[in-house]
Amino acid sequence: MGVLDLFRRGPQSVRPKARSSDDLFDDEFQRKLEMLALISRRVFAGRLRADRRSKKKGSGVEFADHRDYAPGDDFRQIDWGIYQRFGKLLVRLYEEEEDLSIYFIVDCSASMAFGNGRKFDQARRLAAALAYVGLANLDRVTIVGVTDQMVSRMPTTRGKGRIFKAFQFLRELEPGGATNLKDALETFVAQHKRRGLAVLISDLYDPAGFEGGINVLRYAKFEPYALHVVDKSDAHPGFKGDVMLYDCETGEERDVTVTPALLERINEAYGDYRSTIERYCVSRQVPYFAADIDMPFDELVLKVFRSGGFLR
């Protein structure tokens, strides 16, 4: 920073360096998608999912797999035999015999592009990977981009061969604008009458509160899935001294003297915020997964599978 910058008044632009499309969904990425699809087939085995903790019950009663017990799960589904043998609480999973609509709601607000845009890239990769799995299992997949409104939509599609259409849609998404999940998802709900799994991929930095958006989905009988994109550097800003803070979405300014003690408290506040989100989701039986952008996307996807809520 030069000396003149000290006297420059306005906030500086923080436009992310856009990753080229070829880097985002390259051959290596696509190979990993295939591997993830194969893993998911162990669950689907060419049939439609069943017994998802969905309001819309299917007729399938065939046992498919186990998953870790999560608070809020039905005690009746706990496999007590396994608990007796291994001391681990696992829940039995059953296949559903009906196709499913999966909606991927990607947050395109400016905060997703903060830093180097890694949150936004990771969100798009996760959306692509999960969409591929859904398409490969003949689910009806829809992808939408939201900010404080629904900014774009990929029409509902089905079949693995349509993944490139999804890639193209995700490539064309541009970050920017403020976040208002409640307003944006109200539009989404109004436009999509067919209920299904709604995967919200976002950093959940919503000045109006992250709860509004999730509640809109819940009240509209969707099955919300919160995929929280987490960048730890948000809790560790690399500056000190007298600064003028401004919000990258709202432009709200504030003069602050940043000290090591204050940074420590910011870190704590960030942790509290994440805990609040997780507690909220669990209490509402909304599957929640924190996707750290420092982890490889394939590992993240596998963890999503294991944590349940997406695959059964």
């Binding site: 000290l6 420059r8 001294g241 007298d242 803070l245 919000d247 003297t257």
Partner: protein
């Protein structure tokens, strides 16, 4: 505590300006660096809690301001150079006279007395009070100031290194007068003499000196010395290949000593002798008929047992014999055996004899002797000696005829008659001479002048009023002495030649050429340009040894050498004086000089300011004061 640096009013003005600037910098806020955050609500929740700590934050900012103001105050205080009131009010004005006479070369203390004197003087300089001012003066034959009157040790200590001992006696009276002049009108005057006390003590103090306190720092511990206090040589007039030397060796101790005296000619020993000297004895020695060697003579004395005395500077002395050169003499005569015989005695005379009608010859001469003739003198035949001149052509008027007369009066110091007994000479007949204006009557009978010297048209002459063959003058030793003395007088090779000068005096050195200034090369190799007046170069000599005087330029350049010696019995008495009284006023030891490093309070203040600055830097980078 008083401020001896910038005055309080100036400090106040500077302080007010600097404090205002500092306050302004604290009041003005720099534009803050804009920084983006992804979600400002996170910061809001934290900063809400911080609102309560704003007061403390402001206090910390105030602490930073106070630190800066303290720093500024310390710097201002340092500029004021605070000193304890006792120091500030006791400022003395001192003149430090450092004895630089020959006796200070004595080696009874290591490295020598002057070295110890410098060390003592250095202690005094380092012990000066903050308000003391000191002037360093080298006390030789002439007092020489070497510094300004200053309290700065960094200026005074280098001046001490410039003090060098000379081969002269110190003139304490002039030194005290100089010190009194320097201290006139100044408060708390003091004169400090650092010396061995072996110097001429004035009988009366200059009136201005009486107002100043006299301090004395003694140097030296013993005074064992053997000295050559006189040394002079001359050539024999009739045998210039031989010479004689006059020496005086002095034992300044209270014990008898055995000494060995040696005389060297151009570095080779030509005479040596063992001497026994009683307590404080001055032993004159004459060495006649010294031969061999060269022009440059050196006498050295030492103890027979090989020990050395405390002052080597007076253990040797130098002398130079006059130059031996051939003189061309023209004798115009019809024949005079006595005259010819007298001229034959000096082998350095090239005598040419011509008949009167052959005068003037073509060749040039330095001296011409007219025997009973007086032709018109030619310019190139030099000075003139008239023997029984006829009235026609004589430079002096020929007076009445005289019979049966002699030298009733004569000038014993005139070079023509020096060392001669003229009273018994009987003359049968001759003429009185009538001297002209400016002429000198060298010899006269009761009837009139018979020997006259003078100058005509730039040419010197001597005229004798009778024919020596008509007297018993030619049968006496005085005759050849008269002839040869007159010739040597004409060619400036007389017995008034000075074989060595004495240091500490103004020398008038005969120059070999007609010039207005000449170059003088001292024994140490230093070169000086000296003025020449009436054929003599004037120089104040302070160094013993052999000098070289060079006059003229290019091919006309000529040079002469001469010697200079300490030859000062008083300076050779080097017994140090533990106490000193000057004109009845007893001196005391210096006081009020603190040992150890000087307390410069402003340095401590500066260090404190730097420490505060470092603390402020640390606090800033630890974000304590921001």
């Amino acid at each position: 505590m008083e401020l001896v640096g910038l005055p309080l009013s100036t400090l106040a003005a500077i302080g007010a300006g600097a404090a205002a600037l500092t306050m302004l910098l604290y009041v003005l806020k720099l534009r803050r660096r804009p920084v983006a955050v992804p979600f400002s609500r996170l910061w809001d929740s934290v900063l809400r809690d911080r609102e309560s700590s704003q007061l403390f934050s402001r206090l910390r900012r105030l602490l930073s301001l106070l630190l800066q103001l303290c720093l500024l105050g310390l710097l201002l205080f340092a500029l004021g150079q605070p000193e304890p009131s006792a120091h500030a009010s006791d400022g003395r004005h001192l003149v430090l006279l450092i004895d630089a006479s020959a006796s200070m070369k004595a080696t009874d203390v290591a490295p020598n007395r002057l070295g110890v004197a410098k060390s003592e003087a250095k202690k005094l300089v380092q012990g000066l009070g903050p308000s003391d001012r000191l002037l360093i003066v080298e006390l030789g034959a002439v007092p020489t100031p070497l510094s300004n009157m200053s309290g700065d040790a960094a200026e005074l200590e280098p001046a001490l290194e410039k003090v060098h001992a000379s081969d002269t006696r110190a003139d304490l009276e002039r030194g005290l007068e100089f010190a009194a002049d320097a201290l006139r009108g100044l408060p708390n005057p003091e004169i400090i003499l650092v010396s061995d006390g072996a110097l001429g003590i004035p009988k009366e103090l200059p009136s201005e000196v009486k107002n100043a306190a006299l301090r004395y720092v003694p140097v030296g511990k013993s005074g064992k010395n053997l000295a050559i206090t006189e040394f002079s040589v001359r050539r024999y007039p009739l045998d210039k290949s031989r010479h004689e030397a006059l020496l005086e060796v002095t034992n300044t101790n209270d014990q008898p000593v055995d000494a060995e005296l040696s005389i060297y000619g151009d570095g080779a020993v030509i005479e040596t002798e063992r001497l026994k000297l009683g307590p404080n004895e001055r032993l004159p020695r004459v060495y006649p008929s010294l031969g061999g060697g060269g022009r440059k003579l050196e006498a050295r004395v030492k103890y027979s047992n090989g020990q050395s005395d405390d002052l080597p500077a007076d253990d040797h002395a130098f002398a130079l014999l006059p130059e031996r050169r051939r003189v061309r003499v023209l004798l115009v005569t019809t024949g005079n055996t006595y005259l010819e015989a007298a001229l034959l005695l000096d082998e350095y005379l090239d005598v040419t004899m011509v008949a009167p009608n052959a005068y003037p010859p073509r060749d040039a001469f330095e001296v011409t002797i007219f025997d009973s003739v007086a032709p018109a003198p030619a310019k190139h035949t030099g000075s003139l000696l008239y023997i029984n001149p006829p009235a026609a052509g004589s430079p002096v008027k020929i007076g009445k005829a005289l019979e049966e007369f002699g030298f009733d009066t004569w000038d014993k110091k005139h070079p023509s008659l020096r060392f001669s007994a003229m009273g018994d000479i009987q003359v049968a007949a001759g003429n009185a001479l009538v001297p002209g204006e400016g002429d000198q009557v060298v010899g006269a009978s009761d009837e009139g002048a018979i020997l006259v010297s003078g100058m005509r048209q730039g040419t010197r002459f001597v005229a004798l009023g009778f024919d020596p063959r008509r007297s018993d003058f030619v049968l006496r030793v005085a005759w050849p002495l008269f002839v040869l003395g007159t010739v040597q007088h004409f060619v400036e090779e007389d017995t008034s030649y000075i074989s060595s000068f004495t240091t500490g005096q103004v020398w008038n050195i005969p120059t070999p050429a007609v010039v207005e200034s000449a170059k003088l090369v001292s024994p140490s190799g230093a070169e000086h340009v000296v003025p020449v007046k009436e054929g003599r170069a004037a120089h104040f000599g302070s160094e013993a040894g052999v000098y070289k005087l060079v006059a003229g330029d290019g091919t006309a350049q000529t040079a002469v050498e001469f010697a200079a010696n300490l030859s000062d019995l008083e300076e050779s008495k080097i017994t140090p004086q533990a106490t000193l009284s000057i004109a009845g006023q007893k001196t005391s030891a210096p006081s009020g000089f603190s040992s150890g490093p000087r307390r410069e309070y402003w340095i401590m203040l500066l260090i404190a300011a730097i420490a505060l600055s470092a603390l402020e830097w640390l606090l800033y980078h630890r974000r304590v004061t921001v």
